[in-house]
Amino acid sequence: MSTDILRQLKKTLIFSGLSDDALAEVAQKATTRRLSKNDVLMKKGEVGDSLFLIHQGWVKIVTVDSKGDELIINKCGPGETIGEMALLDQGRRSATVIALEDAQVLELKNDVFEKILNQRPDVSLSIIRSYSDRLRFSTTYIERAIDWAQKIAEGDYSFVDQTQPTNQTASDDDKATQLLSAFFTMVNRVKEREDGLKQQLEKLSFEIDQARRKQEFEEITSTEFYAQLKEQAKALRQKRHQD
């Protein structure tokens, strides 16, 4: 097993805390799979029971949009892992993965993995640790995201300038960072759209017909009634002023 593969495995969430010798044992149990262009590695909705580490070549992660067209969500290449959670929970695959070219992936099956866990309590322990680290990390981000979402609802975008996502280049398997970055992209889009809308507000243009205005004023003020009222009002205001 090349050290290259070991280094890549160590970057995954599950294996990040493993010692080198434990990692070597895990890697040993993995099998290599060759894919030709357009081979399907996994299908959306299938129960997943293995993790893949891409060794060579590129794959695309796709889903189908509401019109039935293929939608590429992401592309993955050498060193990246796919479906690591399936090792533990055997959930359904959330997307389909198809080879973009001839590729080589390392597959670690769930049953093989479980055997290792049974034999090596140290491996189990380190895996539990890395999960709890991640959980704590995610919770902090979720709390902050809730706080920000509330601010957005109130139309307060000030936090965007104060808190840029810290590290855009963080490893790709870092889902919390990805979420955060997506969140900020969304906020910026919403803000842009809102600013745009504000600019689209219409201006009321009106013109007063001054000739008509003058004519109507004269019609009202030229009456006997008005002349008398004006006198009375004037007297009244003077009287009130004196009081």
Binding site: L201, L204, D209
Partner: protein, 260 residues
């Protein structure tokens, strides 16, 4: 000066005068002032509905007073002591707010229209209302347009609030009303826009209208279905204080309260 007469007027009908008058009076009363509301819209009185005054329970009215058939004491209906069941009005309990209703009885209406109201009579009536109830403000809800009755209430007011909708017809009509108010030496002229479509830029609208008429715009109140839905028998601004319409109206109330 104590005992200011505040007339609410608009060139055309249905601009929201009655709703504005009732809610403004309520907001000013909530601020601790002694407030009266007179309905001089003798042709189509309606403000009593907003204060929950049942027409059948209405005793003597402004019409009786103007004809010397009743004292002003008999006419004042205390809202603070009769808030009724509505949520908004309930907040007025114990406040100093009185309504002086106009008659809704057909015969009496036509009688007063035929005879016409005398300026001095109306004025003495308003002044004794202010004195008797020791009022800080007396709000007058008027009939739209520039007929003789409305000219009387414009002439007698210390503060005139002209309500307009942001459309060409209202703006044209308002220009004449503004000229009349100046010709009658009304000391304080304030504009208020109601039923403004949200598509307009309110800040621009305010600037534009203020500069066209050389008069302050105390508030721009949005067109609102909530208001159309809920306004008929309660005081909207007290019931929904956080609504944009209510917020904008509080600005207007504030503008009234700061006038010396």
């Amino acid at each position: 000066m104590k005992g200011k007469i505040v007339s609410i007027h608009s060139f055309r009908g249905g601009t929201g005068k009655s709703n504005t008058t009732a809610n403004l009076a309520a907001l000013v009363a909530m601020a601790g002032k002694r407030v009266g509301v007179v309905d001089t819209d003798i042709q189509s009185p309606g403000i009593h509905v907003l204060f929950g005054l049942d027409e059948n329970k209405m005793g003597k009215t402004m019409n009786d007073f103007l004809h010397g058939k009743a004292t002003i004491r008999e006419i004042g209906f205390s809202i603070g002591e009769n808030t009724g069941g509505a949520d908004g009005r309930a907040k007025l309990a114990g406040k100093d707010l009185w309504l002086f209703p106009s008659s809704i009885r057909g015969r009496e209406i036509s009688q007063i229209l035929k005879e016409g109201i005398d300026f001095n009579l109306l004025n003495e009536g308003l002044q004794s209302t202010i004195k008797e109830f020791d009022l800080d403000y007396l709000f007058i809800d008027t009939h739209p347009g520039l007929n003789e009755e409305t000219l009387l209430s414009i002439a007698t007011s210390d503060i005139l609030i002209i309500i307009l909708r942001p459309d060409n017809q209202d703006l044209q009509g308002t220009s004449v009303t503004v000229d009349i108010a100046r010709s009658l030496d009304v000391p304080n002229l304030v504009l208020m826009v109601n039923k403004a479509l949200p598509k307009y830029d309110f800040v621009e609208l305010r600037k534009e209208i203020a500069s066209k008429f050389h008069a302050p715009v105390a508030g721009i109140l949005p067109l609102s279905f909530d208001l159309a839905d809920n306004a008929s028998n309660d005081l909207f601004s007290l019931r929904f204080p956080d609504h944009d319409w209510s917020k904008a109206l509080r600005e207007v109330a504030q503008a009234i309260l700061v006038i010396e």
